[in-house]
């Protein structure tokens, strides 16, 4: 961190918040709030005289509340810049000045109580998101008695207690009575892999953290007896299994089985635990001086703000969604934005460093080129047709369309550098004011016309998105799965490209059935464009019902690239429905849809 602070080409803005980001790859504008420190950081020598006289005592967040800090403090000893700051919310009063002792104590006169938040406008080419994650609060797991029993601590607190720079200066003491604990129990998976408390996912680092902790204890205090209660020890990384085996060799007991609850012996403050030993199938009673809850992690709460700032989405577990899980693991779906560390998924230090390296290298590619190459498939505005209704602005998953104004007759404008070419905007425009390059309306209508030229009643017009469903069909073919020959595929980049009128056009031309298919919701290659597909198809179903057309003739299926089997199955099922479509039905449909005004 010191190196970062000293680097001539790195500008470190500590104690600051990003308020607003506009623009696009290569041309981002960021508005940054530099929070008032009330101390001029360039003058502060971090002598600490101010903290000595400050009368306000608060629990120290960095030391997990085990020691105290003042209202004027330095967040942690290695903080960069090495300068004190006043916490406004803790201070007795800055305006009017209630105490002012720190200003009197400061020899260099760096105090500036009238300081206010400053704003900084930055022009940046790329953005790396590294917002981290938060430890799970084990107090919600009532049966483990965290906060109720002083000698039940979390693994984060353990780190402070064993640290030489911690509140006990490295003497490992238990919080209850300050004595040195000899029998220590660890419980794994607190807040991880749970449907009840915390998160469903495996937090990835807690197993190895506990293994490391047991080795630290064995090293510092060879007479400690450590017992680890676990569900599965996941020692998957380089050298991890080795470390785990070493921990077993030094005599750490690993018990497969989680305790049901922790009870406290009120006289001694010791903790009583009953757990089943999975290897013997017997219930065992244990007594410990200290219990450590190995807590999992939750996605950073502030992530919601980042989502809005950079139009990002997240997976169902709350971590930020990458552009592609295998091929673009550090790229955000928004161009020019990259991820590093645990904002993307729980990971350890090594993986975070690896990802940070990858993210900066990816950023370097863009910055050194100075130009971006974009796919030729983008949307194009026909300005004279645009009414400025801004429907497309809402539809665009990338915020690539800048709003227009319907009253002032200002059309929208498309930032092509942001456009990924899904075509959701073109599908949502009711005035044909947006045209897609390479997947034009004309091309798609012509394909439909050609498909339905002969025997349309035997055809299923299938719209398949380029990334999943078309590839799924391909996979079905490569796997030599048999399915009826009635389907005719029309490729679109995204299922969100499918306008309702495409569907009606197919029916008007006498198609027996129409299938719209795309990626599963979580897999959409255009962030969430296929949600619009769902909405459009829902709407089309309603309309078909009103026109007394069987809604089953329009189908919506999510088929991924790996689901060749499903593709074939869907095709077989649809062919069964297709066989039930009669000539009269098709004629009625054509008549109903050809009525003027429909």
């Amino acid at each position: 961190m010191m190196d970062v602070g000293r680097h001539p080409r790195i500008k470190l803005l500590a104690y600051s918040e990003v308020e607003e980001i506009s623009g696009y790859v290569g041309n981002f504008r960021a508005r940054i709030r530099r929070k008032a420190r009330y101390i001029r950081e360039e003058d502060c020598t971090a002598c600490g005289d101010c903290a000595k006289v400050c009368p306000v005592v608060k629990p120290d967040e960095y030391q997990q509340g085990f020691s105290s800090r003042k209202a004027v403090h330095i967040p942690f000893p290695q903080a960069v810049p090495s300068a004190y700051l006043i916490r406004k919310e803790d201070c007795l009063g800055l305006n009017p000045i209630a105490c002012g002792k720190c200003a009197e104590a400061c020899e260099k006169k760096c105090m500036d109580y009238d300081m206010s938040d400053r704003f900084l406008e930055l022009e940046v080419g790329v953005i790396v998101v590294a917002t981290g994650m938060e430890p799970f609060d084990p107090a919600t797991v009532a049966e483990y008695g965290y906060r109720r029993y002083p000698n039940v601590i979390s693994s984060m607190e353990f780190e402070r207690l064993i640290c030489a720079g911690g509140p006990t200066e490295g003497h490992f003491l238990r919080p209850g009575d300050g004595s040195r604990p000899k029998r220590i129990g660890f419980i794994q998976c607190v807040g991880s892999r749970s449907r009840k408390d915390g998160q469903l996912f495996c937090s990835n680092i807690c197993c190895m953290n506990t293994v490391k902790d047991t080795l630290l204890l064995a090293d510092h205090y060879p007479d400690t007896e450590s017992t680890v209660f676990y569900t599965d020890i996941r020692a998957f990384g380089k050298g991890f299994e080795d470390l785990y085996q070493r921990s077993r060799e030094v005599g750490v007991q690993y018990v497969r089985g989680l305790p049901g609850e922790i009870r406290e012996d009120s006289k001694t403050g010791n903790l009583l635990v009953r757990a089943e030993n999975g290897s013997t199938g017997r219930l065992e009673d244990h007594e410990f001086d200290l219990m450590v809850l190995s807590v999992g992690f939750t996605p950073q709460n502030g992530n919601g703000k980042i989502h809005k700032l950079l139009t990002l989405s997240h997976t169902s577990d709350g971590f930020l969604l990458e552009s592609h899980p295998k091929l673009k693991p550090v790229d955000a779906p928004t161009k020019g934005v990259f991820f590093a560390g645990t904002c993307e998924a729980p990971k350890d230090i090594k993986d975070s460093v690896t990802q940070a390296g990858a993210a900066s290298a990816r950023a370097g590619i863009l910055l050194s080129a100075g130009k971006v190459k974009i796919e030729a498939i983008t949307s194009r505005l026909i300005a004279e047709k645009c009414t400025g209704c801004n429907v497309c602005v809402k539809a665009c998953p990338y915020s690539a369309i800048l709003p227009g104004d319907a009253k002032k007759k200002i059309p929208v404008s498309i930032v092509e550098a942001c456009c990924s070419g899904c075509g959701t905007c073109a599908a949502s425009c009711r005035f044909d004011a947006i045209e897609m390059r390479h997947f034009t309306d004309n091309q798609i209508y012509s394909q439909m016309d050609a498909i339905l030229e002969e025997n349309p009643r035997e055809k299923i017009v299938t719209f398949a998105c380029n990334w999943c469903s078309y590839a799924g069909g391909d996979f079905a073919g490569v796997s030599r799965l048999a399915y009826p020959a009635s389907s005719r595929l029309i490729r679109t980049m995204c299922s969100g490209r499918v306008t309702e009128d495409f569907i009606y056009h197919a029916f008007r031309k006498g198609a027996a059935m129409v299938l719209v298919s795309g990626c599963h919701f979580a897999d959409c290659h255009y962030i969430n464009a296929n949600r619009w597909t769902q909405r459009r198809v829902d709407h089309a179903w309603d309309r078909l019902e009103k026109l007394k057309i069987r809604p089953e003739r329009l189908q919506l299926e999510w088929i991924s690239a790996a689901e060749g089997q499903k593709f074939a199955k869907v095709m077989r099922e649809l062919d069964e429905i297709r066989k039930t479509v009669t000539i009269e039905e098709v004629q009625d449909t054509i008549a109903a849809l050809s009525k003027p005004g429909k």
Partner: protein, 203 residues
């Protein structure tokens, strides 16, 4: 526990029906993990062979009941057993093991005359503790229902049912009960006809 490929199962099903009792696999000790599907009738007590039977039907039979499907989520962490009061006093009672037996389809171990499951006191501790939201008590109750349907239940349960049928009360009221109530200053017990209850109890 047998590792299987999808293909082998489907072949197996077509070969062994209609007397197919789940999916049967054998493991030859000398060959290590070499697995092949066999018919149940062929090898049960073969020397030198360990036959592992995974009866998926049992799990599905339970999944069809009201709360039984949750058993599929069990990852055998043992939090249920760690907090089970019955396990404390009965060394063979182990809710985790019962879940495992359900998953492995060891029906005969659970659905039998002196089944261990009657030791469950239905305290719902395991239900509270389970990180995977498995409902062990509900599953055990479903197992009890299965047993009862086959007419197997312990004497105590039988007596309770009979008592409810006759008197509408789960315990038998004796003269001593009346005396006890009188001494405690409680009002005398009114009659409690089973009424519509008896219809539920009809087989």
């Amino acid at each position: 526990m047998g590792v299987k490929t999808f293909e082998s199962v489907s072949i197996q099903v077509s070969q062994v029906q209609p007397h197919f009792y789940g999916h049967v696999y054998q493991r030859t000790r000398a060959q290590g993990a070499e697995l092949s599907p066999v018919q149940e009738q062929q090898h049960t007590q073969d020397e030198g062979r360990q036959v592992m039977r995974v009866n998926f039907d049992f799990k599905e039979e339970l999944a069809a009941t009201l709360e039984g499907a949750s058993v599929n989520l069990c990852y055998q962490c043992g939090a249920c057993t760690g907090d089970c009061p019955s396990a404390r006093f009965h060394k063979d009672f182990n809710p985790r093991e019962i879940m495992l037996k359900v998953l492995l389809g060891m029906r005969d171990d659970l659905i039998r005359e002196d089944s261990i499951i009657w030791n469950c006191s239905s305290c719902y501790n395991c239900h509270e503790r389970c990180p995977q939201s498995v409902k062990p008590v509900e599953i055990i109750i479903e197992l009890k229902n299965l047993l009862a349907r086959e007419g197997i239940f312990p004497k105590g349960v039988k007596e309770t049912v009979e008592a409810i049928k006759k008197t509408g009360r789960s315990t038998i009221v004796t003269d001593y009960t009346h005396k006890m109530r009188e001494s405690l200053g409680l009002p005398p017990l009114t009659s409690c006809e089973p009424g519509e209850l008896s219809r539920i109890l009809e087989p």
